[in-house]
């Protein structure tokens, strides 16, 4: 344990700033991401993050050309460079959304294919241009890709000591938050039902391209500090995680912000601690840390998988657990019902012939299925059964439950007989299934539907 945390002993304000920058970028991305996810345009964000490269390079070309033709001075160029690149990325981002849509509409190309063609082509163009001017520019594709979040805190804003990246991402986050709050109901409606939104005066295409523009802007602002991998991951993974945890949009947005921030913390800490640990254990001593951006993306993915498995309502584990509980309940009820029927058909409680039969039945049931064994044990603990081994009997409470069950069984058989076209032999199997799901309300309804029958279609009494 000590060796794991050793790298953290050298924690500095630099590390804190890295986490803050990562968290701000992640939260800024999560906001448009929520709506992309709900509009089923998750891959559009991914595509825009690729094509933005072209926007950045194009902006560079244009500003460079303006300097060379003496329209603006190099000093002005330097001061507006970031804004220009952001603008270029937004323009190309919206353009690529538009091109995708046009290809779909006018070229009859299927939507995902259209998206793929547009983003690979534009990205390839961007890559080509950036290589062609690589010597003149400070941006190189590697940097855009990996980002340099480790270096980001070093470039401060003026003399305040606050890193520039914090300011940039903070501003973008604020803008996105404001937009989300102000346009909340419009965004929600147009994500849920664009046609209805349009009839309400919220034009679908304005919302669509607006969202694309905001996404592009957010991505570019984050690129510079954290790189495109992190951005691609943070756009969709935190909203998707939140989507698994809640059904309400405001809560989903809040959760996705939280998850974005959390991924940043977990990501940076694990970037410092995990790699040396794992690398040493496989015998590679000279590894001290890993890319923070990559680890933040991995952390977000880890949170997603956790939510996927352990989420309270939609989690796999909880679903399997509830199915298991159900099976256990059904097995227990089968034991109760069987015992009740033996009691019912015995002429007297002390009849020995049926007692042997019952013991044989119980034995075969509990040897065949571990669920029945477990269920019997649970019923004994709840004092619905007493006795042990194959000599168990119903207690009064147990008998009460068993009676309801047999009642459900026979009422359902009567219901089948009334409403279904079904061979008689089949009533029983269906009732075996359904008896476990009939609660008091449904039983009352059945009773009423059947006009309070006294006997089931087999002529057996329906207990009250």
């Amino acid at each position: 344990m000590k060796s794991v945390l050793t790298p953290l002993q050298s924690w500095a304000s630099l590390d804190t700033w890295i986490i803050v920058i990562g968290a701000l970028a992640a939260m800024a991305c999560a906001l448009p991401g929520c709506f992309l996810l709900l509009r089923r345009q998750s891959l559009m964000g991914d595509a825009i993050s690729h094509t933005s490269l072209l926007g950045i390079v194009a902006a560079f070309f244009v500003s460079h050309w303006l300097v060379e033709t003496n329209v603006i001075s190099p000093a002005t160029e330097l001061s507006v460079r970031h804004v220009a690149m952001c603008l270029g990325a937004v323009i190309v981002g919206v353009l690529s959304a538009w091109m995708t849509e046009s290809l779909q509409k006018f070229g009859n190309v299927e939507s995902s294919a259209a998206l793929g063609v547009v983003f690979t082509s534009l990205f390839a163009l961007g890559l080509l241009l950036i290589r062609a001017v690589a010597d003149d520019v400070h941006i190189d594709p590697d940097c855009v890709l990996y980002g340099a979040i480790e270096m980001a805190p070093l470039e401060t804003f003026g003399t305040s000591g606050i890193p520039r990246a914090v300011v940039v991402n903070g501003v973008v986050l604020t803008i996105n938050l404001l937009l989300t709050v102000v346009l909340f109901k419009e965004l929600r409606l147009s994500a849920f039902d664009p046609a209805l939104a349009t009839t309400q005066g919220i034009p679908a295409h304005v919302m669509h391209y607006g969202l694309m523009g905001v996404t592009a802007m957010t991505l570019v602002a984050a690129f510079e500090s954290v790189g495109s991998i992190l951005v691609i991951a943070m756009l969709i993974i935190p909203p998707a995680t939140a989507y698994l945890l809640t059904d309400r949009l405001p809560r989903m947005i809040g959760l996705s912000l939280l998850i974005g921030a959390l991924s940043s913390v977990i990501g940076h800490v694990s970037a410092l601690t995990l790699p040396p640990l794992i690398a040493r254990s496989v015998g590679i001593p000279d590894v001290h840390d890993a890319s923070t951006a990559g680890m933040m993306a991995a952390a977000a993915g880890f949170l997603f998988v956790t939510a996927m498995l352990l989420g309270p309502k939609y989690g796999l584990v909880s679903r399997i657990w509830h199915r298991l509980l159900l099976k256990l309940r059904i097995a227990g009820e089968d034991v109760l019902g069987g015992l009740y029927r033996f009691e019912e058909s015995a002429p007297a409680p002390a009849d020995l012939s049926l007692a042997t039969e019952r013991a044989a039945w119980l034995r075969s049931l509990t040897t065949q299925s571990w669920l029945a064994r477990l269920a019997t044990w649970v019923l004994l603990r709840r004092r619905w059964l007493i006795g042990s081994g194959s000599e168990v009997r119903l207690t009064d409470t147990g008998r009460e439950a068993a009676r309801t069950l047999v009642r459900s069984h026979r009422l359902w058989e009567s219901f089948l007989a009334k409403h279904f076209v079904l061979g008689t032999g089949r009533f029983h199997e269906s009732a075996e299934q359904v008896e476990h799901f009939l609660d008091r309300d449904l039983l009352a309804e059945l009773d009423q539907d059947l006009d309070r029958p006294g006997v089931d279609p087999h002529g057996r009494a329906i207990p009250n």
């Binding site: 279904f420 029983h428 299934q433 279609p457």
Partner: protein, 281 residues
Amino acid sequence: MNESPVIDHEAMQEPQIRLVAVGATESEPVSPLLIEDVTVAYHHRPVLWNIDYQAPSGKLIAIVGPNGSGKTTLIKATLDLVPRAAGQVLIFGEPYRQQRHRVGYVPQRTSVDWDFPVSALDVVAMGMYRKIGWLRPVSRKYREAAKQALDRVGMVDFASRQINQLSGGQQQRVFLARALAQNADLYFMDEPFAGVDAATERAIVDILRQLRESGKTVIVVHHDLQTVHEYFDEVVLLNMRLIAAGPTAEVFTPDNLRKTYGGKLALLDQLGEKMAQPRSR
């Protein structure tokens, strides 16, 4: 559920009640389609409850019921396209897996992308891919067979036409030809009359009658109540459960129709909800 002595005990003691004479009047040894106590559930929620049906041989049979009553699901469960939660299906006395070659299937026309780059002839030939076998191209022999099938539905002039240049009725006829090319003994057709022109409807009915003449059995999901009497010998009324089945004249009565179209049994819906959400109890 485990078979226990108690269960046998209870089931065997019961007096026999016959609600409907399922299969009792059948003189043929093997029914083309025997559905026994089939329940189909999506995500644990039953959409078809305990269906029991035996189809007579050499008849045109309509499956009729409101939207969402499980007509298509019944056909899909029969063809092993959706899993059955309970019950079994026998085609000519054996599971579908062993009788595939004797069954022709015409899915709903809207179930495929008609923009797909194939011609009408290609689509019909698809019915015979199984027979042609892996790794072999479609030979002239099969091409001719496909042409003949297209001829039977009056579409031979459109053999090389790309399928998105066909009208809805023509597309439906191509689907029908694909099933005919299989030369099966039992046909399932899912809404073949949906959205087709009058000429196509007549052509399909002619084909159905020809099939019956040659002793085939055809089971059709049908939505037009007006034409049931005219087109079909037998009818199966369905609404999540089997309402009635038998010769059209006997079964297709206003009373049965009211039962079929009078809404689902609310209880089944509530129960289905409970079975899908186990923790609600």
